[in-house]
Symmetry: C2
Subunit: 345 residues, 2 copies
DNA sequence: GCGGCCGATGTGACCGTGCACATATCGGTG
DNA sequence: CACCGATATGTGCACGGTCACATCGGCCGC
């Protein structure tokens, strides 16, 4: 642990002004000042103005700690994030969460899980709880996280995003439906031998996409092989692609995200083959770069920003018309580009 | 503004235990409990153990607001981020900042700027200051941010990252050196007509990279054209590429980041040309996907994670050997891949 | 044997704010 | 003009920690 050095520039007075200082200067009681701060209705306009003026003059800033102490409301929500938070999707959602929270007058504090061990989750969770956050958005929808949260008996409301599990604490894109769209697209193009490159086993969203894939395949009576479990990275996609292409027993691959799809395309090319001529590829997420891949990637778009906003809305119990809320609210959308075509044989 | 609903599960008792509750249960004074919390040296081992046990039993959690109130140390640092925070680089750094801060016992709160207007910066800054953060990391190195910070007379220490300006509040990768490496690489391959696709005008790092480009060109006595100012996005890279290629008066482009480079390559292909045969491209950042682009992208790698760590270290005044610190500490590294070759004519 | 010192612990005040309650002020009413 | 209720403002206390200082033994040295 280390200490933060003193203020940067100004040789500030030893103590910042508080409401009593303001009160004295304005010739009112501290309570009146407090009322001004909290927009209390029964306060005379003239008084209010005078107080506000003094505040301005004294550079008064309310002390959040004091307020939190007495109200026991921290006005802070926490984000529990996986290391994957540097990816486009999660990062976008986090941004949206922060914005939505701020708009609602809340602060946001973030903690990353260092690993997917129970201890890593616990540490991060403790870190958040210890600042008495009023709610938590879990953005690392790994199954284990649920267990840890319930095991710890966290007494804080929480929401997880991007999963479609049976938990009530969930805001999600319809991952399963999106995966079915992607799969159906390949089938409609005539593919019958389709692989699925899935995300990590313990990610709920990976599981949902896999489930969607299997559902659609089975609905169309097409036999499937076991999905490959990846780690979301382009590197993994490349290695998996090289491996798979040793036996060319497929004509299309549905990848669980765009990065892995990019790796697959790379592998296809390095094997002297062509996408989409020899192998069609569909991704998932529609990251902004996907349209500029070669070939431009057919993928499933999800609205990460909306997702983040909804998380906060749900956490704050502020969804405009609660009865109408569609739990699977945000639908995914297929974006067809150049990486898919009919099979060449 | 909305209120957060009550605790999720447990019908918790009206009040959480405080140090006096613990003290009573352990048969000591509240101050002794406080000493245990703060690892005070002169406390008997037996007493300490007893207190700790009671804490465990009562599920005691120290109240951060109370501690902050009395010590006036919030143990929180703020991150002031641009919307670009969803990009790989900034997101990685933010993750590293959060981890480093937590390791040092600090909490992290993040605020995004909604726009680059003064008001947007001010709002975000106020949001951070109002929670009495002890320090701020600015991760949106736009020049205007500096102005606003100094104008507001923010009395909080701050550090900005990814700029190499003359400000003392800076931790940076050697952007300029990296840009020179990239440019020199193109020159060494024989290119003489080289364009630069820069980042937004008001970004310090964009400026630095541009400066590096111009420096190297001038050092080698090669005439330059005015750089194009982009917005970091692949989309812009694509549009700029299409535009530029109407006059093929160049054989190479140095792009200020990898995303725009991707868009350029896409444009080159759409014009029926080939990268690197007709045009060589160099990017900047080395995002994880760059190795899997087609062609794999020659680019300049910077260590975002280390950057984030150093920001926190600097902010906490914890750099191990202050005298030895190299302000330009983190060097950038050229990664040569397939997108560069000699000019074809 | 006694003063002094040190380690271990206790006592009370205080940090800045909001809440419950008390009090003043004012206009209208019978 | 006494009385009522509503509006506007003031008074003390509580929140849960930490800090400064007081207290209390025991041990040491002369």
């Amino acid at each position: 642990m280390t200490e933060l050095s003193g203020a940067a520039d100004s040789a500030s007075p030893p103590r910042a002004p508080n409401i009593r200082d303001v009160a004295k200067a304005a010739g009112v009681s501290h309570q009146t000042v407090s009322r001004v701060l909290n927009d209390h209705p029964s306060i005379r306009e003239a008084t209010k103005e005078r107080v506000l003026q003094v505040m301005e003059q004294l550079q008064y800033r309310p002390n959040r700690a004091a307020r939190t102490l007495v109200t026991s409301k921290s006005r802070t929500i926490g984000i529990l994030a996986a290391t994957s938070a540097s990816h486009y999707g999660p990062a976008s959602s986090i941004g949206a969460i922060q914005d939505a929270a701020r708009e609602a007058g809340y602060y946001v504090s973030t903690a990353n899980m260092h690993n997917t061990e129970t201890s890593g989750i616990q540490d991060a969770l403790n870190h958040l709880v210890s600042q008495s956050v009023e709610g938590i958005v879990v953005i690392a929808p790994q199954k284990r996280v649920f267990d840890v949260i319930s095991e710890l008996q966290v007494s804080v409301p929480y929401v997880t995003m991007q999963s479609s599990s049976d938990s009530p604490h969930t805001v999600s894109v319809d991952q399963r439906g999106g995966a079915r769209l992607a799969t159906r697209h390949l089938i409609e193009r005539g593919h019958r031998m389709i692989y699925h490159l899935a995300g990590p086993q313990d990610w709920i969203e990976a599981e949902e996409r896999m489930a969607g894939f299997l559902e659609e395949m089975s609905a169309q009576d097409i036999p499937t092989t076991a999905p490959i479990l990846g780690d979301w990275s382009a590197d993994f996609g490349y290695r998996a692609g090289r491996e798979l292409l040793r036996f060319r027993d497929f004509t299309a691959i549905f990848s669980s995200n765009d990065q892995m799809a990019l790796g697959l395309i790379h592998a296809i090319r390095d094997e002297g083959l062509d996408c989409p001529r020899d192998v069609s590829i569909v991704g998932f997420d529609d990251i902004p770069e996907a349209a500029h891949f070669w070939p431009p990637l057919t993928t499933v778009r999800q609205d990460f920003t909306e997702l983040g906003r909804r998380c906060v809305a749900q956490l704050l119990g502020n969804i405009s018309e609660p009865e109408v809320v569609n739990i699977e609210g945000i639908t995914a959308e297929l974006v067809v580009r150049g990486s898919t075509a009919g099979p060449s044989f």
